[in-house]
Symmetry: C2
Subunit: 105 residues, 2 copies
């Protein structure tokens, strides 16, 4: 079965509290309950030490079965509503989608 990862890197604006960030993360996670093509959601704070994170502090990882599923998610009203609020709290954002592929040695 295929799987497509949707990775969003975020840096929140100055002055956003940890509580506000927690609430936004819960709102992001809650999209799984509204957008049926979104199969799972995980997140984490950047803990890298190579200093190549370009200022991004949070990683949001959601999983879809197809790229069409991601398109449906992006245009879903629940996502549009959340994204409007979420993006307004970000100083920087980066999004990539990819199909994780193994390499035969």
């Amino acid at each position: 079965m295929g799987e497509v990862k949707h990775i969003l890197l975020a840096k929140f604006k100055e002055g956003i509290s940890e509580q506000q960030i927690d609430d936004l993360i819960k709102g992001y996670a809650n999209l799984v309950n509204h957008c049926e093509t979104m199969k799972s959601f995980k997140w984490g704070k950047d803990v890298s030490v190579e200093n190549l994170h370009q200022g991004y502090t949070h990683v949001f990882e959601s999983t879809f079965e197809t790229t069409e599923g991601i398109a449906a998610y992006i245009s879903h009203p629940a996502h549009v509503e959340f994204a409007t609020v979420f993006l307004d709290q970000l100083e920087k954002v980066l999004v990539v989608d990819y199909k994780p592929t193994s390499v035969e040695p």
Copy 2:
């Protein structure tokens, strides 16, 4: 069991051929055979349509059990040797590490 994701986003320099990119990806994948803390490796081309990818075209995802395992990987001679060659072929690079965490609704 914990798991820490090491995500590298890359944009290759102009003029690098697909064959060279394939060889670099195989070299990256081959680190699994040398760095015992590196548990798995996957990659994919960016297929996002939101135009928030900031020019990055390739995603490399490797998995470790601990952040200490990532530190051991970074300083491993096989990684140092590969990274010297790999980074020289990149126009842009971004690295984040995170522990994928679920959210209780």
